[in-house]
Amino acid sequence: MEEQYLIRGILTQNKIVFDFVFSYYYSGLCAYCERITNNQDVSEDIVQELFLNLWIKHHKIKIESSLKNYLFTSVKNRSIDYIKSEQRKTKKLIHLTEEPLQYENLSSLWFAETELQAVVEKSLQKLPPRCREIFELSRLDGLKNQQIADKLSLSKRTVELQVSNALKQLRIDMAAYLPLNLLMFLLK
């Protein structure tokens, strides 16, 4: 119901709904786009262009599935278009061996930042404090295992063990969340 409200808001140029949807999905869409295009600036352009289009051509747009599905699929299509046009631009001159694009199962990355943050947060709360601290240093701050070991005066092996424990917890929690999501969008 809430979803229908948002969609209607977008399609009737409700500025408050538009701003909300934009703020809610922007970073998630950009990060997803970046996975495909490998370029932060291009990703921002693509996502901004999508929303601009959504506002201007609101009367021509049909959102049949969910809003999230619509946004991420549009970003995916635009990203692929971008990559193809980049290839075409260079193809005239460059005759490199053609590599097929690989997008794996990227729909598992259809997250808004707050959603993903919540899943990770909830999962990490289940960990013992030390384990959590180590994991955050490792995965979120990007420190090497040895650096963490030095910082906390632990052995490298302890750090490795704690990181893998944390990942194990995260795996279990995200597994409950992800496949359902994945299925929903793959079936549509």
Partner: protein
């Protein structure tokens, strides 16, 4: 008993830091049962999720929304002008045709004007900066020469380059600035870019910093064949023995460091490092052994002598070098200094 060490190996597997033996162990475990495969896939997803979250943090929705909103406002204004624009296009068309015919007529008259050309040559190991008659600023690197007319024509500003130069082109949309390199030429209206075109290196490189430039082949006025338009931060390069032109994103900083008297390497492969050292110090360095070609090097040099640079190279890479005795040639001058760099035996 087996289960525990495997769980510990998995994070490193994803990061790709396991040795072949451990990797083999993980692969075996992964393929042993459907359950293991599921665990592995789940772990991969969790890890991806974390990376994705980190990526998201780079983006600032608030700032972006301001940009989109200003575009929305601009769009509204534009729509009012849309009708007007269609009318304007029709009105302007005859004017363009007239100007064009006039331009052709004029260029015929000027077809063969007597204009003196001047050539500036920079010897090895030196660099120079100067202004062209149209107040375009040029930095010329070592062993380069630039030819230009003392008075530019009315319809184009043409220069000829051999070697490496950095241009800050004075803006003039009516009179394009054209750099003639022989094989791949450049058309500009106002912009900053770098061209490297040393005949003996059989490589043409063009890096754009600001503005926009057109690459073309042939004569600008009579047989211009457009190739591509470059965007800022892009480099186009082509080797003499190869018909292809490659365009890629680069960090322009390292290409223009020489004009500030610096030598910059940023994850550059060894052959490139050697090529630039040769040019910088006017020496002849040879690489021995194929393994060296895969070595990437990062460093910044400002006042270091060649031997200091080589010593620094030795510290950070598994190499050793020997300097060959310089020979006295028949005309009593010394031959170029020759240096051989080879992989250190372990």
């Amino acid at each position: 008993m087996i289960d525990k060490p495997i769980e510990e190996l998995l994070p490193s597997w994803i990061e790709g830091t396991l040795n072949p033996e451990e990797r083999e162990k993980v692969d075996q475990w992964k393929n042993a049962s459907e359950e293991n495969r599921q665990i592995f896939a789940g772990l991969h997803r969790a890890w991806e999720g974390i990376r994705q979250l980190k990526r998201m943090k780079h983006y600032d929705a608030e700032k972006a929304l301001i940009r989109v909103n200003s575009k929305i406002t601009a769009q509204k204004k534009n729509r009012i002008f849309e009708v007007f624009q269609k009318v304007a296009a029709v009105l302007i068309l005859p004017l363009i045709v007239a100007t064009f015919l006039f331009a052709i007529d004029k260029s015929k008259k000027e077809n063969d004007p007597f204009v003196a050309w001047h050539t500036l040559e920079i010897p090895a190991g030196m660099r120079s900066e100067f202004y062209l008659p149209d107040s375009t600023k040029v930095y010329l690197n070592s062993k380069s020469s630039l030819s230009y007319p003392l008075v530019f024509r009315d319809n184009m500003r043409e220069v000829k380059l051999s070697g490496e130069a950095y241009f800050e082109v004075a803006e003039n949309k009516e009179v394009p600035f054209v750099v003639n390199n022989g094989r791949i030429n450049i058309e500009v209206t106002g912009t900053e870019f770098l061209v490297t075109n040393y005949a003996y290196e059989e490589l043409t490189e063009i890096v754009l910093l600001n503005g926009s430039i057109n690459l073309f082949q042939g004569n600008y006025l009579t047989a211009k064949k457009d190739i591509i338009q470059l965007n800022p931060g892009e480099k186009a390069f082509s080797r003499e023995n190869n018909k292809n032109l490659v365009v890629e994103q680069v960090n322009p900083e390292k290409y223009i460091a020489w004009k500030a008297g610096m030598l910059l390497f940023r994850e550059d492969p060894m052959p490139e490092v050697v090529r630039r050292l040769n040019r910088w110090y006017n020496v002849d360095i040879q690489l021995e052994g194929p393994e060296l070609k895969d070595w990437n090097y990062t460093a910044t040099f400002e006042d270091e002598s060649l031997t200091q640079v080589l010593e620094l190279l030795k510290i950070s890479a598994p190499i050793e070098y020997t300097i060959k005795q310089r020979e006295v040639k028949t005309d009593k001058t010394f031959s170029k200094m020759e240096i051989i760099i080879r992989q250190k035996n372990r």
